[in-house]
Symmetry: D2
Subunit: 344 residues, 4 copies
Amino acid sequence: MIIVMKPNAAEQSIRQVVQYIENKGLKTHLSCGEEITIIGVVGDKTRLGIENFASFKDVDRVVPVSESYKLTNRKFHPQPTSVKVGNTVIGPETFTLMAGPCAVESEEQLMCIAKAVAKSGASILRGGAYKPRTSPYSFQGLEEDGLRYMQTAARETGLSTICEVVSPQAIEAAVKYVDMIQIGARNMQNFYLLKEAGRSGLPVLLKRGLSATIEEWLNAAEYIVAEGNPDVVLCERGIRTFETATRNTLDISAVAVLREKTHLPVIVDPSHSTGFYKYVPPMAKAAAACGADGLMIEVHNDPPHALSDGPQSLTFEKFEKLCTELVPFAALSGRAFRAAKESV
Amino acid sequence: MIIVMKPNAAEQSIRQVVQYIENKGLKTHLSCGEEITIIGVVGDKTRLGIENFASFKDVDRVVPVSESYKLTNRKFHPQPTSVKVGNTVIGPETFTLMAGPCAVESEEQLMCIAKAVAKSGASILRGGAYKPRTSPYSFQGLEEDGLRYMQTAARETGLSTICEVVSPQAIEAAVKYVDMIQIGARNMQNFYLLKEAGRSGLPVLLKRGLSATIEEWLNAAEYIVAEGNPDVVLCERGIRTFETATRNTLDISAVAVLREKTHLPVIVDPSHSTGFYKYVPPMAKAAAACGADGLMIEVHNDPPHALSDGPQSLTFEKFEKLCTELVPFAALSGRAFRAAKESV
Amino acid sequence: MIIVMKPNAAEQSIRQVVQYIENKGLKTHLSCGEEITIIGVVGDKTRLGIENFASFKDVDRVVPVSESYKLTNRKFHPQPTSVKVGNTVIGPETFTLMAGPCAVESEEQLMCIAKAVAKSGASILRGGAYKPRTSPYSFQGLEEDGLRYMQTAARETGLSTICEVVSPQAIEAAVKYVDMIQIGARNMQNFYLLKEAGRSGLPVLLKRGLSATIEEWLNAAEYIVAEGNPDVVLCERGIRTFETATRNTLDISAVAVLREKTHLPVIVDPSHSTGFYKYVPPMAKAAAACGADGLMIEVHNDPPHALSDGPQSLTFEKFEKLCTELVPFAALSGRAFRAAKESV
Amino acid sequence: MIIVMKPNAAEQSIRQVVQYIENKGLKTHLSCGEEITIIGVVGDKTRLGIENFASFKDVDRVVPVSESYKLTNRKFHPQPTSVKVGNTVIGPETFTLMAGPCAVESEEQLMCIAKAVAKSGASILRGGAYKPRTSPYSFQGLEEDGLRYMQTAARETGLSTICEVVSPQAIEAAVKYVDMIQIGARNMQNFYLLKEAGRSGLPVLLKRGLSATIEEWLNAAEYIVAEGNPDVVLCERGIRTFETATRNTLDISAVAVLREKTHLPVIVDPSHSTGFYKYVPPMAKAAAACGADGLMIEVHNDPPHALSDGPQSLTFEKFEKLCTELVPFAALSGRAFRAAKESV
């Protein structure tokens, strides 16, 4: 950590900062310019409330030098992680397709979609049983029934399964039926839920919050891993910006940034980020081309009548076509596209 | 709701949309331009999945005409609401000051701050016992002990109390000790927690999410009210933008927009929005001038040594000075500034 | 400037950076932690391409310590500046109202509006003769004719005048007719135009760019002052964010931040920032309360038939009412509200 | 255009709107719901100031139905355009690489870079001679000398050339030396410069403004085309968001959106959008994969000593490697990668 003092800071102000730090058992290094003095801090900074220095007299700025996330930091864990989900594995040598409806609507609907996406090349079935909806009057999901249908569909098709959770009760139920849980964008900084997910024993897909920086996202992942659960996969799903031509703005460069900052696998959700089925295939290819470990895509048997997010869902035909087109892109990144499925 | 068809949409596409709507028991009005046909929908739209129309053939756009929030909507409840909190009342004729430390650190610290803010003119004591922190390694709060100190401080000073909750357990504990609960920015769309808050029996302060639109915010409030709890106060605390000179960007015009859209009281938090104590007094005055029902301000006995958010906390002297300066601003808005306190 | 090396940077990488800096005639201070070495740079940094260090081997980050704007920086010019415009003065002891139509539409229209706003308390008449419009098919302004009407209206009413310029030709024309020129949001980083404005001899109102940081804004002002023109007034007019309830988001805290960073006067435009006349009065009061040096407000004789920006324009009655309401707010900030006008 | 009246709008308010529209020679269609009346407008809306309706009594909202850009709109020009630049062609069957230094620093530097990028597969040489810099004290470019070096380098290597222009004088000079001019992000809504570019006779690369919506961007292109110059290429270069891990946020989905909305070619600039050389190759591949017509990439002989934007520049080796890797991606999109160069 570096503390930059104001130009011509009083000798006493500098001494006060130095004493505060040394009283906590850390060391300081002074660099005195003609106008500006800089104080470097050496040692375990978790003992200091970093932001507090801004209230000390004559302090201009505090610059953190090292990241606050440790277990998820690539600096301390240079090899990329792979995460086992049911009978498949995410990263670093596979390209994983998660596909399915936004919301589970009925057993028949889910089974029909599961068969179609398995046939086309998906290895994980997604389906929402607990839906966080903006309005309390929108469809909120089938809850435990939905989870049960997921399990049945998995057995029938050999797919692994993932479902979003929104509460401790939902986690408790999910543990009984599915292979992976998802923390959605709106709950990315619901630290209470993150801790519960960290104790669930299931791998966790952590979606990026609508306006979360990459650093906050990795700190959120740190909450899960710090509870003893190393099986976290990150999912870029678009951020909120001023642009309204797409539902959100897919921050595709996050894939490259995360590759450098963390060892965790990274997948991309082109459905929620764009909000429109026509933009899903080009964005799916972009994600595959820049090194993502997989995709999460919404597929529906009848998009116009979907109970949630119809406009961004692919039909079976469009999904089948996309899967075929993705094969050479996965190959160019040196990834086994259908490895997961073929292992069934 | 209005459905705008694409230029020269096929006759059959139009018929398909109309039939879908009428099958759900609603009526349609067609407006046929030379190129573009527009379909007005009359009736209870909650039966339709509004976004689905975007997947129908030849549909260009769907334009909602009425808001999805009802109970919090000023259209259906033109009189401004007042919310009773302990022995004080928020809005529309009072100007309420909530003040206190970001985090409760000890009984002595809290008591010392409570006495100071009560003396200066606050009517509600704020203090965090459950702290949602970006990093799992930062101080997370004293939990139930913190709540207990809040209760003690309230008894001693006559202040009412508010505390943030982050989980159902925290709500359960809060009900025993404090007068109002707060849902923080990061949990604004934690719908599960909103419902629990709606059933708590306590008034709720709902902070705006970092990147929540005003419409999403009112829908979040609707979750609480829909559970039977009408006592919701909204708190603007800054939104996330590209500007880094302040911690967040205080969206002061939200006060004016909310005044038009909802009957609920609105307060402003100049501490979290600016992140810097020097900017708190001018922003507090701006909020009072434009019609806010009150303020939430962080005050600390020793900001440089605060365990959380030191740089944005006011000292006792600065808070006292600000309170004095605010009196004429409250008067200009026709509000009783110290009404609440004097009622003690 | 501080250069933070990567953890365990090679001895040689550190030496390379140090040599590069010392070859340019500056001094370095090393602060060597257990893992991280920090290099402080002392001397005239304009000789270094600051961003280049990021390409040196083992460099982690470069942290500028001092701001790149000098002439507009309060650190080097602690007293607030006042700017003379025609027969009036902006800041620091006056509260200046600029008012008038978005676009000059005809001589009669302008004269009628000028009389009304002068009567209510404005001291400067605003009116667009060159309109930067999103679409090439929208009304683009009366150009030199518009400027001529401004001059006539000024003579008749005693008001000073301001007009936006969009090109060197427009500046050349403006010099002949008006007292102050305005650089609009879309041209805030049109550095060519800024330099021309700096050489115009007229005071300049510099509006903030839609997504300009405060630091970029002050650097843009520096372009004007560096050409020898110290008479710059800054105008906060809303920034672009995700929120669509208002046309832009008024960054009211920019007033407080600018007060600390620069000695230049700061005014607020509540019309463009909110885009809606109902929100103009509360935002005008907020600006007056937090210490702005004045306001720029759109007033129109017949808003529904305005050729530009009708919805945000005040009628004469609404403007008159607002002026009356603003008087005590200006007084609370210790400013003479009608000083300018009374000097006529 | 659709005008939505407020719930229970007065009969007279509705009549007033209808009359205003019909007086302008357009037709109206009324759709009367139980509470809400909707007025459809048929005819040439350019005669109406669309935003004005918001000021009419009882009007709730105005919804534009058709886009304001016409000549650049794919609806009216379904075939994708190709733009000839010197001896090469951009879109729709080629994949064009523009490469070169951010700023032209000397004749030798430019020649050395030109030879390297030509050898690796670029067909257009980029190089800044007029640099828009945030601070007036940063290097501002070699101006006409820089253009002259561009011409020399082009003759020697067979590359076509592009250079940013910032003023009418720069356009005048550029016409003499280079094959294409660029309007930079900061000038995207400098409508005066857009018109001059439209009259220059040269093809124009129009970069997206930092916070420009896609609709504003297409309207800016419309300014150029409306002056009689159809040769416009759009360049996505990142938008401004809250995320600071990258210099800007590359809005990769803009490529897909533009493909649907306009017939103009679209290229991507991964250098300015990410600001960091390590992120350039993955983003270049993403752009190629999702259907961009080409890339603009910064290449420098000695990035650490570049006078501008060193950290985001590729070395010759890295650029050569990237070109080789891009070949199969261009092929997957059915584009001829080196077509342009081979035509030399």
